[in-house]
């Protein structure tokens, strides 16, 4: 049901956020929490952990809104990048690695038996990436969703760094075309 609510333009919203208005924060949350949660789930598939990241992301957005520069990109792009970076930091954190280890010990049996855990590669951007050719898909998965550097990928896949660079560029242009074709 359409909400009976004022719709802010992006610049109005940014202005109100910079004025520390609670109503603007609520509006931001209502409109973007789902999309940003999707972005986070694409990287951190554990829902509970992803919820923690989402909370952290909104705190960051709120406290760092002053650093947002609209000449460099849209508000959503800025928030999406904050979400991705926070997600990858979580993946890389010691706590996460420990929790994964415990999980492997305790829950591997149940996991292989098929849990109802959400398939996080079937929502958001990852759903589009899945449609790419295997060679391209791997590169986008490793670099964008798992945050590996091109150097690391080159070593992991035993492909020359130059090839990783050019192939990743092609993968990204393919990704843009897939998004367009899919009608977004």
């Amino acid at each position: 049901m359409p909400a009976l609510q004022t719709k802010y333009s992006e610049s109005e919203l940014v202005m109100l956020l910079k004025q520390r208005q609670q109503s603007a924060f609520n509006y931001l949350y209502d409109n973007y929490s789902g999309a940003l949660f999707t972005v986070i789930l694409n990287v951190v598939s554990d829902r509970e952990l992803a919820s923690d990241v989402l909370q952290e992301v909104f705190v960051k957005i709120w406290r760092q809104i002053e650093t947002y520069d609209e000449t460099k990109g849209r508000l959503f792009t800025w928030m999406m990048n904050i979400s991705r970076n926070a997600s990858i930091d979580t993946l890389r954190s010691k706590d996460f690695k420990n929790s994964q280890q415990n999980r492997e010990l305790n829950e591997s049996v149940y996991e292989s038996a098929g849990t109802t855990e959400l398939k996080t590669d079937q929502i958001g951007l990852r759903k589009v990436v899945r449609e790419l050719k295997e060679d391209y898909k791997v590169l986008v998965e490793l670099s964008y969703f798992e945050g590996y550097t091109q150097d690391e990928i080159s070593k992991m896949l035993s492909i020359p760094l130059g090839t990783v660079k050019t192939r990743l560029r092609t993968a990204l242009t393919q990704l843009r075309q897939h998004i367009k074709i899919s009608g977004y």
Partner: protein, 266 residues
Amino acid sequence: MDTKEYIESGVIEAYVLGMATAEESAELETLRKQYPEVSQAVLEFEEHLERVAMSNPEAAPAAVKRNLDQLLAGEFKSNENGKVVTMPATSYTKPLWKYVAAASVVLLVGSSILNFYLYDQYQSSDKKYSNLLAQQTTMQARIDVMNTKLNGMDESMRIISDPTMKLVSMPSAKTGENFLATVFWDTKTKDVYLLNNSLPQAPKGKQYQLWALVNGQPVDAGTMDLCAGVCHMKNIPNAQAFAITLEKQGGSATPDLSQLYVLGKI
């Protein structure tokens, strides 16, 4: 500069996705100020990405908002927390009906929107219901067909396993052909049942007809229609042999012996 090549190089996507190097980002930020088409391409990809994330988003857990409200409570500057402003006395003289009117307009708008929404829901439910109904009818029809088949099979089983039945096997009348049909003849009621073991499909406009040979004379025992399992034929009180010929649709009065397929003596 060839902006087309630049736009299609993948650097814009890398920039928007936060994967470009510092030099690449600096170059792009300079170029987008000079070339509107570069700026446009950046914007377009940003909008596409936003739409991808916005379509079917996962609902954020409610606890997150509660935690945030607590966590940031001291940082909000909301109207409620603002300075208390005393309302000018004139504002109280506004007649009540104005507020009532304003409220009813709001309610009316709200209710209209709700109506649209409910009507939409109703239509989609109605469509789903019709689809289900159609599905159910199809299923019922299938069940009926299966039931008929099953009843035919049951009946066949009963006939075949009945010890009062006399079994007359009818092999091919001509040598070299390998057809077979079987007559089950009820020794009490004299009813005749026919099982087609391996007769070829009758050509169009033709039909197999069963004959009983009574004292050397062929007696019509009925035509073989489509039946599930064993076909119930005519009642034959007395016979020495049975035979099947291929006749015109609906059967003949006398058999065409050139079209004799199978024959079995009792």
